[in-house]
């Protein structure tokens, strides 16, 4: 078993960069059991010994109040962790040392990394490393993580510790002063009555947490047989300390810890210069009262164009490539079930997964870049007022806006929101933001039933409706399901830093591969299911297949000019597919479900074919891009307009044959906007929220809300005299 090193430190202390520098590409990303916090672990070798590094979430303390802190505190106290590697930001030493005071209480050997010493030196801070080692009681290695300076020294030190050499290690504890120490000793004595409790964590650490009123520690005590004696002692300690020292336990402990950190910094470091730091000078512009918002919008526009305009180019190549592949396979293979599985099921399924990759990787790269530079915190600072009014967090703004390009990476982008409640609400409302795939449906429908000006207005209205609903749902969710005490908005604005290109690339690759492995399988499975529903039983009908092949051969022997022959073959194919789809399980389902949708799609009972809409909407469950192509198959009309004509044959068929009116067409658009996120989004919500529960919830509330609003559209429209 390799020695396990727990990498602990504050957010923004360069912990992840250091982790990458230590483990290189040899690492693995997963989730901590039961929570949605990312778990990164990796190994490195030094002179023959293999060491494992586990990167803990960045935290300011181990008070175990947030998911991140609980994960970190539990792992650090577990027997699995052999050694603690505490990363300290040298330019912000005092606050970073607060966490160290807690790590020292855990009783495990601690190695300290004094990271970003170059930043500290630029600010005029000189740190006396040997003195720091003396006072912290453990080895201190100065590093510059992003330039990989000091990494070899660090590896050598860790390897030596793994061999059991306790280099420069002394047990150091914070002195909490005579009164508190007295109470701690009494509490420890009570804790030691229960041997199992005593063995589970250092008694002093538990006693301190009890004095801090820590809920997790209290829960641990209630499970002990000594719980009564401990609680009794605890109330006696509070009764003594609070009047005596004029503050509650939490304040007293925090004061002493900061006292230790403050004294230590005074001892080992020189005070920083008074001159303006580059960060202050940048912030004078970037968070300026007047310029701050326009600059932020500019940054947002840039990220958006990079992801969805530049990213669309490779996306189109991929989509075209798979389409060509499907066409190639269809032309070469005999018509039938297996061919259909390949051409209509597997190839589009794989395509539906791969097609997201460029956008996901570019957007995640941009977001990692914004985070690593420190601008993400400023973006949240600038937008927080507005987002807070909507029951959301400043950091929710970027995912919501990116949702209008594609919901899938937008849900992934919500990962930047630290607080779980804020993150969940953001993920649950993001699907309401109308994405570019839904736009394709609007264009076909609105273009058919409205004049160009009204069509444009209707499409814009859909986007505003989506955003507006996201706001309303955000507030509703905040005041219903997530009405618990909200976590404070106490956000550090870290110094601006140049990100390391390698880290950004690693991050992009990780996000992409997580999508492929976790969400990709769900999307693929769902696409295959929908293929099955929309092809069976017709695809297995030998007679139909034989008829289709005869008809094809009949065209082929006519020796027509290639273009005409191709067109005839295509219309034959469309006819054949239409026959299959319109008698499929999905069609039967559509006929069953249609009465439910009648109030919105067929309020006058004049549309015998309204069930066909249901097939298209079922296909839209996989991806909204498929809605239009499915309609083309159902209505046996091509979606490509003939040269010189404004409307495509599909639009003509919809206008003349589907029975939709402008009003029901609008209701159809409203329903398409809301009814369900696509499979990619659902898979991503499942992965990011950590359970199917929230993914299913999103589909459920979408269906209900979509039906309700589409119905309102019909009712209000008729009341105003539209048909």
């Amino acid at each position: 078993m390799p020695m396990v090193i727990a990498l602990a430190g504050n957010p923004n202390c360069g912990k992840t960069t250091l982790f990458n520098a230590l483990t290189g590409a040899r690492h693995h990303v997963g989730n901590w059991p039961g929570v949605t916090v990312e778990r990164r672990s990796g190994t490195f070798e030094h002179e023959g010994s293999t060491l494992e590094v586990v990167d803990l979430p960045g935290t300011y303390s181990l008070a175990a109040r947030s998911e991140d802190e609980r994960v970190a505190a539990q792992f650090l106290a577990a027997p699995e962790a052999d050694l603690v590697l505490n990363v300290l930001d040298a330019s912000n030493l005092e606050r970073n040392l607060y966490l160290s005071t807690q790590l020292l209480e855990l009783g495990k050997p601690v190695v300290f990394v004094l990271n970003m010493v170059d930043d500290a030196e630029n600010r005029g801070v000189q740190i006396d490393v040997p003195a720091l080692e003396m006072l912290l009681g453990g080895p201190v290695i100065p590093t510059v993580g992003n330039r990989e300076q000091g990494i070899t020294d660090l590896k050598a030190m860790l390897a030596a510790m793994a061999r059991g050499e306790q280099l420069r290690c002394r047990r150091i504890t914070v002195d909490y002063g005579h009164d508190i120490e007295g109470e701690l000793t009494k509490l420890e004595a009570e804790i030691c009555r229960d041997e199992r409790l005593e063995a589970s964590m250092p008694p002093r650490w538990l006693a301190l947490q009890l004095l801090e009123n820590n809920a997790d520690a209290k829960r641990r005590v209630t499970e002990s047989h000594a719980s009564e004696a401990i609680s009794h002692q605890l109330s006696r300690s509070f009764a003594f300390l609070e009047p005596h020292l004029g503050a509650d336990g939490a304040t007293l402990v925090a004061e002493r810890r900061y006292g230790f950190a403050h004294g230590l910094v005074k001892e080992v470091a020189t005070a920083p210069d008074d001159r303006l730091t580059p960060t202050s000078r940048l912030d004078a512009v970037l968070t300026n009262r007047v310029a701050g918002i326009p600059i932020f919008l500019g940054v947002l526009a840039l990220v958006y164009s990079l992801s969805f305009i530049l990213g669309k180019i490779p996306q189109d190549w991929i989509a075209e490539g798979f389409k060509a592949l499907a066409g190639f396979a269809a032309a070469r293979l005999p018509a039938g079930e297996l061919t259909s599985l390949l051409v209509d099921g597997v190839i589009p399924g794989v395509s539906a997964v791969i097609v997201f990759m460029p956008v996901i990787m570019i957007l995640m790269g941009c977001i990692a870049f914004l985070e690593d530079t420190g601008y993400m915190a400023r973006a949240a600072f600038i937008m927080d007022r507005l987002m807070h009014l909507m029951g959301l967090h400043g950091k929710s703004f970027i995912p919501l806006i990116m949702g209008s390009g594609c919901n899938v990476p937008a849900i992934q982008a919500a990962r930047t929101i630290e607080n779980r409640q804020d993150r969940l609400i953001t993920m649950l409302v993001t699907p309401l933001v109308s994405c570019s795939a839904r736009l394709q449906v609007y264009i076909v429908i609105a273009g058919t039933f409205f004049t160009p000006v009204k069509a444009a207005l209707a499409i814009i209205a859909m986007h505003f409706l989506g955003l507006g609903l996201a706001v309303v749902m955000g507030r509703v969710l905040r005041s219903s399901l997530f009405s618990g005490p909200s976590t404070p908005f106490v956000m550090e604005l870290p110094p601006y830093r140049l990100p390391v290109m390698k880290a950004t690339l690693i991050h992009m690759w990780e996000k992409g591969s997580i999508f492929l492995t976790r969400a990709g399988t769900t999307i693929f499975a769902g696409a295959t299911l929908v293929w099955f529903l929309s092809r069976y039983p017709g695809i297995a009908n030998r007679q139909w297949t034989a008829e289709y092949q005869q008809q094809r051969q009949a065209v082929q022997v006519l020796n027509l000019p290639p273009s005409e022959s191709e067109e005839r073959l295509r219309s034959l194919q469309l006819m054949h597919e239409s026959r299959i789809v319109n008698t499929s399980l999905a069609a039967r389902l559509g006929q069953k479900v249609e009465p439910l949708l009648r109030p919105i799609l067929d309020p006058d009972h004049k549309r015998p074919e309204a069930w066909k809409d249901v097939i298209a909407l079922t296909a839209g469950f996989v991806a909204k891009e498929i809605v239009v192509s499915t309609m083309a198959v159902i209505h046996q009309a091509s979606e490509e307009p003939k040269t010189g004509e404004l409307l495509s044959p599909l639009q003509v068929a919809l206008r003349d044959g589907s029975g939709l009116t402008p009003l029901t067409a609008l209701a159809f658009m409203v329903f398409t906007l809301i009814y369900t996120p696509c499979l990619g989004t659902i898979a991503m919500i499942r992965r990011e929220a950590g359970s199917w529960k929230w993914a299913i919830f999103t589909v459920g509330y979408g269906l209900a809300l979509g039906w309700g609003l589409a119905w309102l559209t019909v009712v209000a429209g008729r009341w105003m005299g539209f048909a």
């Binding site: 300011y60 606050r95 304040t251 912030d283 701050g292 937008m383 927080d384 908005f489 956000m491 550090e492």
Partner: protein
Amino acid sequence: MTQNLPISLSLLQPGDQAEVVLVQAHGQVRQRLLEMGFIRGVRLRVEKLAPLGDPMELVIKGYHLSLRREESACILVNRVA
């Protein structure tokens, strides 16, 4: 040094300096503020307000932090000239 009565941090203007007197919040908010350095006697300086007027950016213990008015309202400080 400071004789006036403590006031809420949210009343300070950009450029003002103050010393922390007391954190009046409870539970999670209180713990978080203590950890971030809002301890009796600590000096802080209000840097600016966000373009929309909230949150506030301040410097405490040598680093920059932003707080919503909800949180800054429960921190009592003494203004320092």
